[in-house]
Symmetry: C2
Subunit: 395 residues, 2 copies
Amino acid sequence: MNSLWIRNVRPMAGAPLDVLVQGGRIAALGPSLQVPPDCAIEEGGGALLLPGLVEGHTHLDKTLWGMDWYRNEVGTRLSDKIDNERAFRHASGHDAAGQSLALAQAFLALGTTRLRTHVDIDTQAGLRHLDGVVCTREAMERLGQQIQIVAFPQSGLLIRPGTAELLDQAMKAGANVLGGLDPCAIDGDPVRSLDVLFGLAERHGCPLDIHLHEPGAMGAFSLDLILDRTQALGMQNKVAISHGFCLGDLAPAERDPLLARMAALGVVLVTTGSASRNVPPLMVCRHAGVTVLGGNDGIRDTWSPYGNPDMLERAMLIGLRYNLRRDDELDVALDCVTHAGARGCGFESYGLVPGDRADLVLVDAQTVAQAIVARPVRKLVVAGGQVVARDGMLN
Amino acid sequence: MNSLWIRNVRPMAGAPLDVLVQGGRIAALGPSLQVPPDCAIEEGGGALLLPGLVEGHTHLDKTLWGMDWYRNEVGTRLSDKIDNERAFRHASGHDAAGQSLALAQAFLALGTTRLRTHVDIDTQAGLRHLDGVVCTREAMERLGQQIQIVAFPQSGLLIRPGTAELLDQAMKAGANVLGGLDPCAIDGDPVRSLDVLFGLAERHGCPLDIHLHEPGAMGAFSLDLILDRTQALGMQNKVAISHGFCLGDLAPAERDPLLARMAALGVVLVTTGSASRNVPPLMVCRHAGVTVLGGNDGIRDTWSPYGNPDMLERAMLIGLRYNLRRDDELDVALDCVTHAGARGCGFESYGLVPGDRADLVLVDAQTVAQAIVARPVRKLVVAGGQVVARDGMLN
């Protein structure tokens, strides 16, 4: 792998310097580097340098990205959306391989070099969607994008007998993380549901990512059960709670002990910054020591027409949701889609210091805050040490 | 003024047809028009045709759009933001004329052909900002963009003696609408504050647009006082409430009688769809008969770094805030920045039927919902019958 010398960039809006990339990693940063011979050169032109962006929660497998417009006439209940989607995907033969690849490429073109995607596993589709996304993961790995696949029981675990067995097969077939879903509201038997789920995780020695939409006291109850099992099984630093809306509903007296337990157990929280629901309080969670990472959730699918693979736009939406206006507050919004994202998903060698994997994004912006609110074109994207995109387009 | 024939467009995603523009107005729409000689021709290529977009609430005069990045270190209280801004504008000599023109042009390039802007009137700046925006209004009128100017006592009315006299002068100097601000929380004397404000409105025979940030019961109290005066002075269909956050706080039993009175008096509501505050319930307000229009509020100013002059993005943010997912729900989000916007501000001859002013926007989108979530480049913008922008750039 050739060396790459990127001239005149401002890491996180700091002083201008050059970056030397060798062997896929950041070899050096500084104002007056020794440049090796035969080194490819990129002129940064004073651009803002960000580490590769991190998508902490999306659903590559179910997107309709680039397809004909899907007219959404879906009901309002969670079960309406779940049933509608499973039926649509079955009837339409929706192609998880091609669709996930198209969206992963669009993510990369916009600077996302690490990505966690959930993939539906259910008794109607079996492992079909997983197989497609595994192909996408391999294809994108060659472009330097790292994808984690969560085997996700979108239609429920206990309520659709046979799902646990499919999740077990999914982990053997290449999923990286085991997913869970509302043990009360969907599965209807929280203790048994979580026992089955944690049993599978223990058997596979894999991390967990549990979608917890349950509100208020119900969500707090489920979260407590999750934390109990995390502790009992020694799964510290291996469990993520996605959404966790209940933490936005609870009074501090009920919320804060849960946050303290999450922090102590290294349980992280994934948020989209939903504008239409109570959300966990970002700054309170961070102050309590809980890592909060950002994600889009589904992008243009049968659930919702919104979304796109721009993690700077997600940072903006998180900023708007949490009323982050000061520049120092917007640094937190960026953290959700960079360092906290990588830490929360367990992506390694992440950052902008020598030795880190060379995942780099250049944008014309004076400050981090400006990059978030203006979401400028990605001038250059480097993934795993290679230039993969210019001006928003993959090479 | 020459005739213009726009071929093959789909008004509001309907069947393809042609549009004939004559004398600045829509002369005809149909599948097989008689085209007059010497008619300029634009090929629509099957694009979605929208009426010119409407910005119902912005602050052209205070934007930092296009300037060096302003580092926001402002405190969290409303008064912090007000005092910081007034001091900054005074010390920096911020140029309301040049800045408002730059932002108004950017609005037009993105398809906004009608726009209501608030302009700060205070005892430190006097009418300086107004004078600048009046120049912008004249310049943009020549490009076919209609601007309404609200003389807005941003720093308070009673609490800064001399402001009422300045508002009086502002109305004589060309403002179209009189603005108000939190009669309890800022002015501290709601009855006298509103009496002075409505007295000025009566003298000038002008509409009112009152920024009501006050929460809960306090906001409901102020709103009641406003509705009393609207009724007593016969100002039906002439009063707008901007923000009206209190309507998002109140229980239905307190809220619904206020909405019924607003509907009966033709008092409209302007929302940004704020993601970080309780907001008036959009669908409930509409079902009660209250016109709800959309606005950006400030765009990249000392209050907030967010925002841009794309009303399709504002429609998206309103859609996200109110969880509008179905295509028929997204039609409502568009309505907030089109027909409801025009109706709420009192812009006349608005729409897509023969006789309406020819304010037209073409985008490549299959549906209205797609136009909102994807915010495609504006292929063509026609304002007052003239082509003013192509592919997002002014001619």
